[in-house]
Point group: C3
Chain length 484, copies 3
């Protein structure tokens, strides 16, 4: 069918107005707002990029390993259409199991052949952005173009200018945080600091593994924590001390935040004796799911107490039933696209924490959710009154154009803009970071443009707010540098 748009089918291009509102008047305003923030530096405070990438600065291996295999958004879409994760290169944990596809070109061809499946998804937007902006690809992915695109990307990957550290500059990333185990000794971060990347690549303290008594690796992980901290963790008191020591190590290494991914969001403290009892029992392998649940809630409260001491910003990412399919989890491990959000009693859950620390001048928590129902009902009202609370950006499945717009519409009227975290990406896909921030800036520009067009905001207020959302608010929310 002849039409301007459909020519995009012939050549892969990025329209300058993509993801901006369709209505011409609003779009014109959105263009002006977006233009004023498009080139602001990226503050990426919740990443999952391995720190080794930056510490070792090795070239990336191939297009499949970079863009397909580690991206569970991509893998799960093919699985939903009948492929096995192994067909996309996801390796089974058991070496004796049927092996995963190991030829990157075969994986890439499968990916390109399934390009149609990504219609209407943010992966389509991110991948198009990456292919065009980063790799200079001009063909729309398909079986026919797969090899040519593969060759193009592979040649780019060989360039020194495409090493991870060089990309930090190219992507205009001012700060990027990694996520690190509570027992990490942060050697890689140390090496980066020695080479002048100390204020640019920051660690994030993630203690989930040692806060859940019923995780199979809990005893070993707590031992790792004790060893890293040089503290005897045979007692609950020692366990808390080890956490304090490691938090201090993270602070010294430039960490600004902790991250907590519990299933629920209960923060009810136990009395110390009960906590110690549950801890001691678990050390000897005796725990119950009820006890583990209670201890996990207790530990969220303890982490808040320590945060009020050491000032690390407490990120809470609750409400996801991880590894929904346990057989898949046993075969392939975590983070393979089988995590399903659930409803969480959010306000009641965080109440003990906020009653204790919600007004503490040194306490800061950023609340995230994948349950849109708590946006206007619970999180915006909480962020709109508690000085310690910031409302996190749309997370995970909601990091998408329409979902991000719904978020703004649901929370702004109650919480305003100043109680938001600003945009926070959450990805393992390093090359998608610029695309994700660009998309968020476009969606926010479109939302603000509507407020201007409806005479609810002036244009210069909208431009000022767009800069807050894209850059200043994340720095404030995480107390980054001079913004602190």
């Amino acid at each position: 069918m002849p039409s301007p748009s459909s020519t995009v089918d012939a050549t892969l291009t990025l329209h300058p107005d993509r993801a901006l509102p369709a209505e011409p008047g609003v779009r014109a305003i959105a263009r002006e707002i977006y233009g004023s923030v498009a080139n602001l530096p990226i503050v990426s405070m919740h990443g999952h990029v391995p720190v080794e990438w930056f510490a070792e600065d090795r070239p990336f291996s191939d297009p499949a390993e970079l863009l397909v295999v580690p991206d569970h958004y991509v893998v799960r879409m093919f699985v939903s259409q009948g492929a096995r994760p192994e067909d996309l290169g996801v390796r089974p944990l058991d070496p004796s199991a049927p092996p995963a596809e190991s030829d990157p070109r075969t994986i890439w061809r499968r990916f390109c052949a399934g390009w149609k499946h990504f219609r209407g998804t943010p992966s389509r937007f991110w991948l198009e952005h990456e292919l065009v902006e980063i790799f200079g690809v001009r063909e729309v992915p398909s079986e026919a173009t797969a090899d040519a695109i593969y060759d193009r990307i592979e040649s780019v990957l060989r360039e020194d200018s495409f090493r991870p550290r060089a990309l930090l500059d190219r992507f205009n990333i001012e700060t990027i945080a990694t996520t690190d185990n509570a027992w990490d000794t942060l050697d890689a971060h140390g090496r980066l600091a020695a080479e002048g990347f100390g204020s640019r690549v920051l660690p994030t303290f993630r203690p989930d593994a040692v806060c859940h008594l019923d995780r199979p690796t809990w005893v070993d992980d707590v031992d790792l924590l004790g060893a890293a901290a040089g503290v005897d963790v045979s007692t609950y008191a020692g366990f808390l001390e080890a956490l304090r020591v490691q938090r201090a190590r993270f602070v010294a290494a430039g960490a600004l935040a902790t991250d907590h991914g519990h299933l629920g969001v209960d923060t009810t403290p136990l009395d110390e004796a009960e906590a110690a009892r549950l801890y001691a029992a678990a050390r000897t392998g005796r725990t119950t799911s009820a006890g583990a649940r209670a201890f996990a809630g207790h530990m969220l409260f303890q982490m808040a107490a320590m945060a009020a001491e050491d000032g690390l910003v407490m990120q809470i990412h609750p409400g996801v039933l991880r590894d929904f399919d346990q057989a898949v989890h046993r075969r392939l491990g975590p983070d393979k696209g089988y995590d399903i959000p659930l409803a969480v009693d959010y306000a009641r859950g965080v109440r003990p924490m906020l009653e204790a620390f919600g007004h503490h001048p040194n306490f800061r928590t950023i609340l995230f959710t994948i349950d849109e129902t708590v946006y206007s009902r619970e999180l915006a009202p909480l962020a709109g009154v508690f000085p310690s609370v910031r409302l996190g950006a749309p997370w995970w499945f909601l990091d998408a154009p329409d979902a991000m717009r719904r978020f703004r519409e649901a929370v702004t009227e109650t919480a305003g803009f100043a109680n938001m975290s600003g945009f926070v990406d959450d990805t393992r896909a390093f090359c998608s970071i610029p695309a994700r921030h660009d998309l968020a800036r476009r969606v926010d520009a479109g939302y603000l443009a509507r407020l201007v067009a409806e005479h609810r905001l002036t244009l210069d207020e909208a431009v000022d707010t767009a800069a807050d959302l894209a850059y200043h608010l994340p720095r404030l929310a995480y107390r980054a540098g001079d913004a602190q």
Copy 2:
């Protein structure tokens, strides 16, 4: 007030752009997309039209019996404004009770006098479509026009071209499914098959009545099942066998799907001994609500197991508290407009079923909901990874313009289009089927047009996707004909 639109008040007309987006640029794109799918055949895989209508092909009696009395959308609106269901012709179960209005013209006059109540509802859209397109009515319903419209419809109803079978052609219905009890012997479907309608009017296996131990008619219904299957159902094993036999009979009669309308969506299997114990107790009239609930969940799991064997697509329609007002239910029976949706713990509920069969190549389930909160939180993430799961179209109260748009916006970004069922109507109102499919095609065209206008999709991708949603995806979801 003089205005182009208000002339619609004088003459009832259907605007060619109705239910398309208002913004001129988006509307122009939507028109092109809609135009490309407007005339595709209708695949109606979840109907509640009585099979006898097609088997006997008798003329319809009168306008009230066709358009008012059986349509609970219409009846409940009048009830909410103070009428009794009996005033709209709904007959009480007890012959000695005050009788329902029996004069179709009186019922019709009441309906036309209340036309204003349907402003902003899909019933208004459907009924206008039916009046104009099917009956050639030109007057806006009102007290003044009621008789003229009645006479017009009545005269049309007398034409042979308005018999049920003729309407299948006129409505361009390629396939229509009926909903049939588990103990149905499908004689009517047999007669239809003998007359060449076998691939056009399909049965659907609905075992709810025999899966809920606490329903007053459970013992009798199970006996009917046993009799139909020719199997002794005095034991639980016999009960399962009878279900297998009847499922096979439905498959032989061309059935493609089963339908399950539980209050919850728990699918936890019981051990066989416990299931047999609950069954045996219920056969002797001894059951508890907890036992009935557990057995119902167990049976959903059993139905999934059988579906993985015989390939019938498993439709799940949970979360509706039927017969909310029990006095009305005792007086008038079920499906009288007193069914109220509730929140359901959806993902946790289907987990046992999906862990057991979610990757089975022969298993297919279509998940429906009337709880919009699970769209982005649970159903889209599930459909976006499990190959057996398709996400059903907006159902019941959500089969409406704005609700259908919200559905697309909530699920597409996570699940894409290929994991959708495409449009599935769910109605007792045979004449509303073309209107419902037309409305869905318009709303999808509008949604896709916005993606094109926002440069998130090309026009030819949108046109291709519109055909998928209107025709190809329903055939794929239900494994209809060559699409299998």
Copy 3:
């Protein structure tokens, strides 16, 4: 940045098209619809303005006391940004506690300096409307303009034309309801009636304090009830009788409604013996939270039974966890911005009440919520069939442009317009009442204009519906005057 809109920064003005849709075609229709209802009288049936303001008709003291201190929307926004409520003039209950800021000019300066925080909130819309329309302010609030604006408002406050009663005329308020304790003797309303305001300022019966056995003041409040009614409340029977007597007193004083703000919405009646037992125990200070919860649900049922007798419209405002931070509550008292909405099992909760009275010709209940999830799932389906149920307007945090639009989109397709309450404000901020009604009329005009532009409604139907929503439906819902 030079731009037409940004000139609004120089002078504070109200754009005639504010809060109307941006798309020019839809806006033109919306303008016509809005223009037809902009000047209709205000029916304000759920206010929290103290009746004394009208009875005594004293001038307002100062800008801070009028616009900042009592408005928890305003105070909580500053608290979320680090201020203490006391900094905004909120007085601690304990006179020996650190005192609140007492200089109104200092409070006003703080408010103006934080004007930016209200971007995107309805407070911004309401306050702009009040400053321009009521006080003739022309400066955008800021540190620089704070004093000038303060002086301007103060001078206006000294005018006789700004006394509360004069404002009733100026605001075009036809009827305004106050909220009064169950034990109120309504002397102020009596004085108002004697002066001819009896049909204009109406009391509302609010029995929450005496329906919750576990409230610290319950025993005393019940004694007050008994004293007001002249009934011995030492027994449960006497308690019910006292409630009947006081309800009759409210009816005699012109009350049209009761209001019920329970945490949950359970309406399960207890048998009388159990209710009497719980009551007697509570009179001697012995109650449990479970017992109090059960009694509260029982009392909602009792209030419905009395409503079916005396015809008072029963407003239910559930699902808010009051005084989320108990330390703040102890320090400052209730209604200080620390109330957080929660999910409520709404349909199941009201089922006993609706099964008993849902079809009673004399019973009318208006259901409100701050949980958007029940709009399309539970409340619209209930309002769409039960003749006694009207669906209340978006309440509290949802009384905002985008939230009000979402409400219409979520409920209209299922419940239609005639089952709505029409707009009901809910405010302590007297001067914001015209702004709130104006905003609601604009948002409804925009919603209706879209239906017209999408050819789902004719323009004259939209104009007629707009008048229903703004004026006629509230009068019908509350059975006000001749509308009864």
